[in-house]
Amino acid sequence: MRQIQVPKPYLPRRRFLQLSGISSLGLILGGCGVSLFDDVVQKATEPLNESVETLLFNPQKPVPEFPASAIEPDALLVNTFDFTPDLDPAKFRLTVDGEVNRPMSLSLAEVERMPLTSMTIRHVCVEGWAAIVQWGGVRLRDIVALAQPKVNVRYVYFKSADGYYESWDLASALHPQTLLAYQKNGQPLPIENGAPLRLASPIKLGYKQSKWITQITLLSQKPPSLGYWEDRGYEWFAGL
């Protein structure tokens, strides 16, 4: 009769150390999937990146536009952080306040009586996709000028009807292609795209371009809450 030999579990020291090394590597790499100090990296490099972005940004130079034939109507995806507010255009008021000499409350009709600017630009989302869109609306700089901001104003804060909030540097807000848009691709702005008024601009990522804007506040200091996504870790400047 043949004896059955059961091999002893065999794990020499060297092999054990190798295995523990490999498995701890797994821990580190697994950590990569989680986040691996993304907040530390952000604190360490965002100020540098922001100053380079500001340096690259030319606040007066318009970004070249596209012909109407280049519009990609299906490429613009709808991203919303919560719900889609349905505002009554007849009752809608846009508040402009903060450090200004003339705080205002404008009706939609008053906004639409201001000079209309149309632009066909590339809308770039932080997720990586982009869409060529035509936006029509009033230049934000015209609204800001009406409110007569004080000389120390440096930031603009936007409040939306869905609870979304954003803040911009003044230079980007006053760029000639930063619009409060109420038209998209030649049509009235659809509700899911931010009607009655939304920000549209070729110089900032999509999450900076608030929809359903109800209040614009001019500030001399950065607001404590920079923006919905910024407060969760996204970059604040987000310039293109």
Partner: protein, 202 residues
Amino acid sequence: MVRDVPAQKSKSPPKPNQAIAAKIFHWINLISLILMIGSGLQIYNANPVFGGRGGWHFPSIFLLGGWLAGGRHWHFAAMWLFALNLLGYGIYIFISRRWKHRFVSSNDLKALQKSQNVKRKTYAWHRLAFTAIIPVLLLAILTGLGMYKPAQLHWIVDLFGSWQALRVVHFISVPVFITFAVIHSLLGLKVGGSRLIKSIFF
């Protein structure tokens, strides 16, 4: 009379020796590219280049940053390390005049076509691969800049025709670089054995 005694005494060829600067550039390049690829794939997953949101996503083991914002922070931190290292390397090979004999030459191309010497051919292939990766890395930076600042540097996007083309070219640098790393290592091993491989790291 030629005496060949010294050759007999030292049996092994001289130990390959790399300049300390070359070792540093190589290390930083390798580490920064691992960070760039990990964080780049994290960004990729937010909206896959191929297929959009419905497209295939990379498994989390290859990702760095944890989510889109974290991936972007890592990507835009490591880009400095990667780009400045490559710039430093460029200045170094220019000033030290290494550019004259580090990269593929017409002699290598002749050897690839005509030489019967297998070792000479492998060496020529290695220099060809080593040279070819430089424009790939520069192209990755150019396409990356185009996506980072498509408004201020709109001419880069125009150069590639469309946003999607720009994304594809930027992404393709990942498989190209990984393929290069494998070929580069194998050819290095073939040319100089593990002694050569060790010499660039330690």
